[in-house]
Amino acid sequence: MTRWLPRTYLTLVYLLLYVPIVVLVVFSFNDSRTGYAWGGLSLRWYESLFNNRAMVNAMWNSLWLALSAATVSTVIGALTALALHRYRFRGKKLLNGMLFVVMMSPEIVLAISLLALFLLVGLQLGYVSLLLAHVTFCLPFVVITVMARLSGFDESLPEAARDLGASDFTMTRTVLIPVIMPALLAGWLLGFTLSLDDVVVSTFVSGPSYEILPLRIYSMVRVGLKPEVNALGTLLLVFSLIMLMLSQWILIRSKR
């Protein structure tokens, strides 16, 4: 009894987690307009998706935003992790604490605080405000990923580089960066996905000049059912799956 019970339970919960996703994918190929009944196989929703110029535009905007937010947060996050790992400085605990708080705070708290800031300094809401906000919420995740990699790292290597006369900058470039490379890639992929998925923060800090995908989906699904969303959701799902597998593959390979 003790063996099959946990297994059945695990299977059941996984089933519940995946049923909606499977339903979404299946219905994205549904020819029926009503959205509930099955009307035969069709790619019409994918077609209408790509014929929708505003949608394609939002897609490109989102990709560009995710790309830049992931890159900026990886650079700053990696430097932060290196500093936290190697240097002693005043306020180190505070820095750690602030990153932790950013990670734990409800997104909506971060969202309104950033909106208040942007309006105060007179920054027009659009690409720049989105970028600043997205980098801020991605940052702690990159720092954690890189820190985890650094904590399992042999301290004698940088010591040796220094003894051989390498400057701090040279040592970082030639010894540390190669070591944390897998974590950088994993952190970048995580940041990319977080940015691409964000609804809460983007709702507050985006303006009409820069429409992004999650907000477009949001306005579509609030009223009734839109079969195009099934198709779009399926595409996003496949995309994130590829990203996730890539990041896992990088991390696992680097451990060997």
């Binding site: 049923v19 500093a83 909506i108 309104i112 208040a116 400057s167 507050f204 959701g233």
Partner: protein
């Protein structure tokens, strides 16, 4: 020792990081605290006399009801996640190592997929003429479709669906650390299964429970798009109130005060989490 030549690199990095955090985390949060004690202004959003009206407004019966209802839904979400997640994490920690990796991977996949799209997928299932109702009617369990969508239950289902992995992962990590010897010792000392569970397993997994509660309860109050899609206008979260006050009603002091309530809740939960970890650290030493 670090030579003088090494300092510019360190200084540059620290200025960059501190600058970012001070400007985009600390300053904005102070602004929100400031906004919460100012007066609402239709033109410039905020104006002087400082006062506590916004906090008083939180206790206005109309809003108090919304807050309590939101808190109730968030608490139910957390409870359901805990009830599903605790045995789940336990069972997961007992599976063979190789299979565990795959199962964990399957657990993170939803986390990486668009939460908006997944909430929408639930709508396909819960709608009046959706899959669940059709299935129940076709097997003759019900004659007329049930009203599942736009109910309190739908919001809770949506939140549980999105947040369950956040409960499971910290729980899984404490179950992984649970030392088998302690369980054996408890058994050898004559404790039964129930007694071992209450006196050994529960206290040792408490930090994981609190971490999970923190990761579920807070978003469960903030994820405004879940009620928007599944809950209709009567099942609002604190997040919906904050969003409406900031973006539609333009009552910033009140929105800010509501957001501070969330922050205070977070601080309280973080404190409890630290406390529980410290207690175990001392007992283990």
């Amino acid at each position: 020792m670090h030579s003088v030549m090494q300092q510019p690199f360190k200084t540059a990095v620290l200025i960059l990081v501190w600058g970012w955090l001070l400007f985009l985390v600390l300053a904005p949060n102070l602004l929100v605290v400031g906004a919460s004690v100012m007066t609402r202004d239709p033109v410039s959003f905020l104006s002087l006399p400082l006062n506590l009206d916004a906090y008083r407004q939180l206790f206005d019966p109309l809003y108090l009801e919304v807050f309590l209802h939101s808190l109730y839904m968030a608490a139910m979400t957390t409870l359901v996640c805990l009830l599903i997640g605790y045995p789940f994490a336990w069972a997961l920690s007992k599976v063979g190592k190789q299979r565990q990796l795959i199962l964990i991977f399957l657990l993170i996949v939803p986390f990486w997929t668009n939460s908006l799209v997944r909430t929408y997928a639930l709508k396909l299932i819960l709608a009046t003429n959706g899959l669940l109702n059709s299935a129940l009617m076709s097997i003759g369990l019900i004659d007329e479709p049930l009203q599942l969508l736009y109910t309190e239950g739908a919001v809770i289902i949506g939140l549980v669906y999105l947040l369950l992995p956040f409960m499971i992962l910290p729980l899984y990590s404490v179950f992984e650390d649970l030392k088998q010897e302690l369980l054996l010792a408890s058994h050898d000392l004559g404790a039964g299964r129930f007694s071992t569970f209450v006196h050994v397993i529960v206290p040792l997994t408490l930090p994981g429970v609190l971490a999970g509660v923190m990761l579920v309860l807070l978003p469960a109050m903030g994820l405004f798009f879940v009620p928007d899609i599944l809950g209709g206008s009567r099942n609002l979260l604190v997040g919906n109130v904050i969003k409406n006050q900031f973006l539609d009603a333009r009552n910033w002091p009140f929105g800010a005060a509501a957001s501070i309530v969330l922050t205070v809740t977070m601080a309280f939960l973080m404190f409890a989490h630290r406390l529980s970890k410290r207690r175990i650290g001392e007992e283990g030493a």
